[in-house]
Amino acid sequence: MKTIKILTLGALAASMSFAAENAAITPVDQCRLALDDAKTNMPANAYAAKLTLAEGFGTLSALETIYADDDDSKLIPTFLENCKKYAEIAKLQGETQALQNHISENWEKRAATNRTIEAIQEQIGEARSGKVSDLEAEKQAIKAQKDKLEASKNEAMDKLNALQSQMIQVTKDARGIILSMSDILFDVGRATLKTDLMTSLAKIAGILSVYQQFDVSIEGNTDNTGSEEFNMTLSQQRAENVMNFLVEQGIAETRLTAKGLGMTMPIADNSTKEGRQKNRRVDLVITDRTQKVK
């Protein structure tokens, strides 16, 4: 019971001291505190807030006068309320100005960032156009090379065409240029090359030595007279002899092949004299190595 009394008295004393502390804060002090609090962290350019604060301090002066005349005046609560409202408004206006300042800074940052982006975009554009130029130059070089090869091929073709005669037929098909040499250029039934053929082959060798992109496949052919075996052997020997002659003329063996096809690849009717004449031949199939690669 005694303890309860002591506790009650203690609580009473504490509440009385708290009330005394509160009573010490006059309405004038409350007004000043509110205005001083509103002043804290106010941006330098918060002019509207500063004007509001000035009005608040005017109210503080009026409140001081009223309070000094009569500390129980009915006007005091309203003046104090007004003072606090000035403080509240000024604080909000200050915060708004701080936000506006931040907004302005961010607009400047955005402008700077966008200028940087534009500069980077330009650099990307330059890097890409440089590459496009390189690529374009490469394409031009390839085209020039192709044109050169084509021109060279046409030139060679013209020269090979010039060999066209009764004994040498010049044609062109998917495989390349074909020089068909009549068997008149060989001794009958033999593989020995006649002088006329050697002259023509020497000219061909001259052309091949200039136009290095050409390879030659030498194909010996016969008509259907005689045995198959004989014809195969004869056509093989004739093809090899042509090849050997070209090698003697300085053409690299690697560019040449020789094969006997016998009577397997007729180009005309073997039942007629003219047809058989056409079928007895050695074909030089001239192919462009550069095109083969592609």
């Binding site: 409202k85 000035y86 408004i89 909000l92 206006q93 955005r110 982006i117 990307i124």
Partner: protein, 127 residues
């Protein structure tokens, strides 16, 4: 002596009249300003709670004026106007907060774009 008394009485009467007219013009000014602020504020969307409270105070202030309680009326008219100014300040603060937030996001997006373009540039120049 009579003349002196008369002169003194006249001076006092004039002073009283001037004071009275000063208070009248003061309250009229405060009420007029509160009224004008209210009509201006009505054109915008503000905190309805604050503005209706402000209007009640204005009505009260007018009543106090009619009762001859000039100083109280003036203080309340000022408070009515302050309520509306507070509503305006709150509204402007909210708008600024929204704008600030939007701009922060836009700036962040710009920064991301910058990083992206920088990485593209690095790739383009490395190739």
């Amino acid at each position: 002596m009579k003349a002196k008394i008369f002169a003194s009485s006249l001076t006092l009467a004039l002073a009283a009249l001037t004071g009275c007219s000063g208070s009248q013009s003061g309250i009229n000014r405060s009420l007029g300003q509160a009224d004008a602020t209210r009509s201006l504020v009505n054109e915008t969307k503000l905190d309805a709670g604050i503005t209706s409270n402000s209007y009640s105070k204005l009505v009260q202030a007018k009543a106090l004026k009619d009762d001859g309680k000039i100083e109280e009326a003036q203080a309340l008219a000022e408070q009515s106007e302050l309520d509306m100014r507070l509503a305006i300040a709150k509204s402007e603060n909210e708008k600024a907060k929204i704008e600030d937030k939007k701009l922060e996001e836009a700036l962040r997006a710009d920064e991301e774009r910058k990083v992206l373009y920088q990485s593209i540039l690095e790739k383009e120049t490395k190739k």
